[in-house]
């Protein structure tokens, strides 16, 4: 009957206990000055030391096998931890992509040596990684990537340019989508491959790009005839497109698509409880509770080995819309008083979020592209 499936997965006692442990840890860290809460912390809050602490707590690579430094817990356990980290505004950007995405790709497609060498370090928060999909000429139209890998006697030679690579400046590795053979007529999804690239290799140049707020968290990464070993090819030559698409459910369905501005809601309530119309707050609560239900359902499906790609696109789409709605609602509440009567911390938070908001509906697939993904699932494209 329904076209999309979100199984109901009520929180277990074990998960609730884990939630309390994470909260307790974060409260202590906050008290001892371990971090300063901020919005959009999974992109902007780069703090390798903090990531290491999380690694020691066992909260990175939670779902990975023990033999690779993981903790063999369910995707729902991981979801509990990521929710708490985001709500606290903890600086988790350094390891976020390794934990969410790169680790999973390595588990699926990496060689035994790679898994043994890299994953345990990632799980300890001591090695970070980034996503090398976008290029200057290939944004939404990802299949247009021009970065090229050609075979050599000892492996591969990589040349090209990636942009917008979040946390590349502190990363050891990037998973690069590159062309390994020409597209076949109109099918451009053919001939693409994924590579695990060690960013310390000669010929790699990473330079920061300042975002709208003047902060550097994303980068341009140049590959100037970088010599790669044969095992840098991740998975199967020519399967890069499919492998890349396989990452998207993890990339799009998590709470980072709807909890990065929650801190503004919490702080506005704290400061202006009497000014918030119940209807406005209730509306935000209802949407958030629904998004959590959906996100949990996806985590359960991923845990069960399914690929809920379109459902993930739905969560990102609805999550982005919710966050924009949250921002404008809180902005309205704050505007009920003169700025001179409002604590400057709250105003800074509002302004900081305003400066980040435009990126939400771009990164990880734009609104328009996601609508297309959903439309395809509806059978109309």
């Amino acid at each position: 009957m329904s076209r999309f499936q979100f199984p109901i997965a009520p929180e277990t006692q074990e998960e609730s206990a884990l939630r309390q442990r994470v909260r307790h840890f974060l409260a202590n860290e906050l008290k001892s000055g371990g971090f300063t809460p901020g919005p959009d912390c999974w992109v902007s809050g780069v703090a390798p030391d903090f990531s290491r602490k999380l690694g020691e707590m066992g909260w990175i690579g939670m779902t990975w096998p023990r033999q690779y430094g993981g903790h063999e817990q369910s995707a729902l356990h991981r979801l509990v931890v990521t929710e708490e980290l985001l709500v606290a505004g903890a600086p988790v950007a350094a390891h976020w992509i390794a934990d969410r995405q790169t680790g999973g790709q390595l588990l699926k497609f990496g060689t035994e040596e790679q898994k043994k060498a890299i994953l345990p370090k990632m799980a300890l928060g001591r090695s970070f990684s980034c996503i090398g999909m976008s290029e200057p000429e290939a944004g939404s139209d990802l299949a247009a990537v021009k970065t090229k890998a050609t075979r050599t006697s000892s492996g591969w030679k990589l040349s090209g340019r990636k942009v917008w690579s979040t946390v590349a400046h502190i990363s050891d590795y990037m998973i690069v989508l590159a062309r390994t053979s020409p597209a076949q007529q109109r099918n451009r999804h053919i001939g693409l491959s994924q590579f695990l690239v060690d960013l310390s290799l000669p010929g790699v140049e990473v330079s920061g790009i300042r975002d709208l707020a003047g902060k550097t968290h994303f980068n341009e990464v140049l590959f100037d005839d970088v010599e790669l070993k044969a095992d840098a090819l991740l998975g199967v030559e020519g399967d890069g497109w499919a492998q890349c698409m396989g990452e998207l459910a993890m990339e799009r369905s998590g709470p980072e698509r709807f909890l990065t501005t929650f801190i503004l809601l919490e702080k506005t309530i704290e400061a202006m409880r009497d000014q918030i119309p119940a209807k406005v707050l209730g509306d935000l609560i209802a949407r958030l509770v629904t998004l959590r239900t959906m996100s949990r359902g996806i985590a359960k499906r991923i845990h069960d080995g399914e690929r809920p790609d379109t459902e993930a696109a739905l969560v990102k789409q609805l999550g982005n819309a919710y966050e924009k709605h949250l921002f404008s609602a809180m902005r309205d509440v704050i505007a009920m008083k003169s700025e001179t009567e409002i604590h400057s911390e709250l105003l800074s938070l509002r302004d900081e979020i305003q400066l980040r908001l435009p990126s939400h509906t771009l990164r990880g697939g734009t609104t328009e592209i996601l609508r297309g993904v959903i439309a395809r699932q509806l059978g109309i494209r």
């Binding site: 329904s2 209807k279 707050l281 609560i285 239900t293 959903i374 439309a375």
Partner: protein, 314 residues
């Protein structure tokens, strides 16, 4: 829901959708109207979730009979340990509803006032105009004529009604989406089907997203329903809010995609959208439930997140 049951119900609701009398008697003959009555009292004794599955199906077929109302009425009666009569029933939550839906044809009306439940004779003959397709009757004189009365353990009237309407809405949203997609695939303008226009794809995808969100919210709420228990107010408030909100967006887009043909009485769309516009108001629309959720949250002193994740944040 059991596939057999689902199939039977869906077939009846489809085949007889234009003949209310035959539809009702076939639903009744198949025992579907007593799905929630225990087996010893001649029902199916279905789980709460299965019953809501039937209600959702009723919505998906815009059933022109009080199938959902009768099921809800039997729930109230059985929760109050009262016998459930056969025949069409309506429900009337005092102080909440303007009138009793299908009050004209319903043989009985179950009235809920706080924790008290009473069974009344139906056939109310004072119709009220409403945006909906289904008839609504003035029920203000009900109280004079009580057949039986008893109490339930908790004040569940509005919540249960809201959940039932949310379930109907969800069914109807899926149906409107299907209908609109197949229309857009067939209708050609500028030499191509409407589905080839990106603007149309985007409207349809937004409809899909709304239906999916409403569906997830209602599933979560339905999963929380137990017999002999107070209901989970937050989960139901969320479900009715999300469903009512989706009802507005989906109806609006569906009419836009359909063009003028969708604006006729004859075409099928109106059977759904007129009901959606009624059901979204019934037992509180999105604003009502947002207010309830917001007030509850503002009354709690701690951080909102703790409230949202309390008891696993159902």
């Amino acid at each position: 829901m059991e596939p057999m049951l689902q199939e039977t119900a869906a077939r009846i609701l489809t085949d007889l959708r234009n003949d209310a009398d035959a539809l009702w008697s076939t639903l009744e003959e198949n025992g579907l109207t007593r799905a929630w009555v225990s087996e010893e009292d001649g029902g199916f004794g279905l789980t709460p979730a299965d019953g809501f599955g039937l209600i959702r199906l009723a919505g998906a077929h815009a059933a022109p009979v009080p199938f959902a109302e009768t099921l809800v009425a039997t729930w109230f009666l059985t929760e109050a340990n009262l016998p459930a009569p056969s025949g069409q029933m309506s429900i009337f939550i005092d102080g909440v509803q303007r009138g009793a839906p299908f009050g004209e044809t319903a043989e009985h009306v179950v009235r809920v006032h706080g924790r008290s439940v009473s069974l009344h004779r139906g056939r109310l003959n004072e119709p009220i105009d409403s945006v909906g397709e289904d008839p609504l009757s003035d029920a203000s004189k009900l109280s004079d004529d009580i057949i039986e009365t008893s109490q339930i353990g908790a004040d569940i009237g509005v919540l249960f009604g809201a959940l039932a309407r949310a379930a109907q809405i969800c069914g109807a949203l899926d149906a409107v989406l299907d209908l609109t997609i197949s229309f857009a695939e067939q209708r050609e303008q500028f030499g191509r089907p409407l589905t080839k226009f990106q603007a149309i794809q985007h409207l349809l995808s937004e409809m899909g997203a709304e239906a999916a969100a409403a569906g997830a919210a209602i599933d979560a709420a339905v999963a929380s329903v137990r017999r002999d228990c107070a209901l989970d107010e937050t989960a139901i408030a969320v479900a009715k809010h999300r469903a009512s909100m989706a009802a507005g967006i989906v109806s609006e887009h569906a009419h836009q995609v359909h063009g003028a043909i969708g604006y006729t009485q004859e075409y099928e769309l109106g059977r759904f959208t007129r009901r959606l516009w009624r059901w979204r108001e019934d037992f509180g629309g999105e604003t009502f439930w947002a207010n309830a959720l917001g007030r509850a949250a503002l009354a709690e002193p701690g951080p909102l997140w703790q409230m949202i994740t309390k008891d696993g944040g159902k």
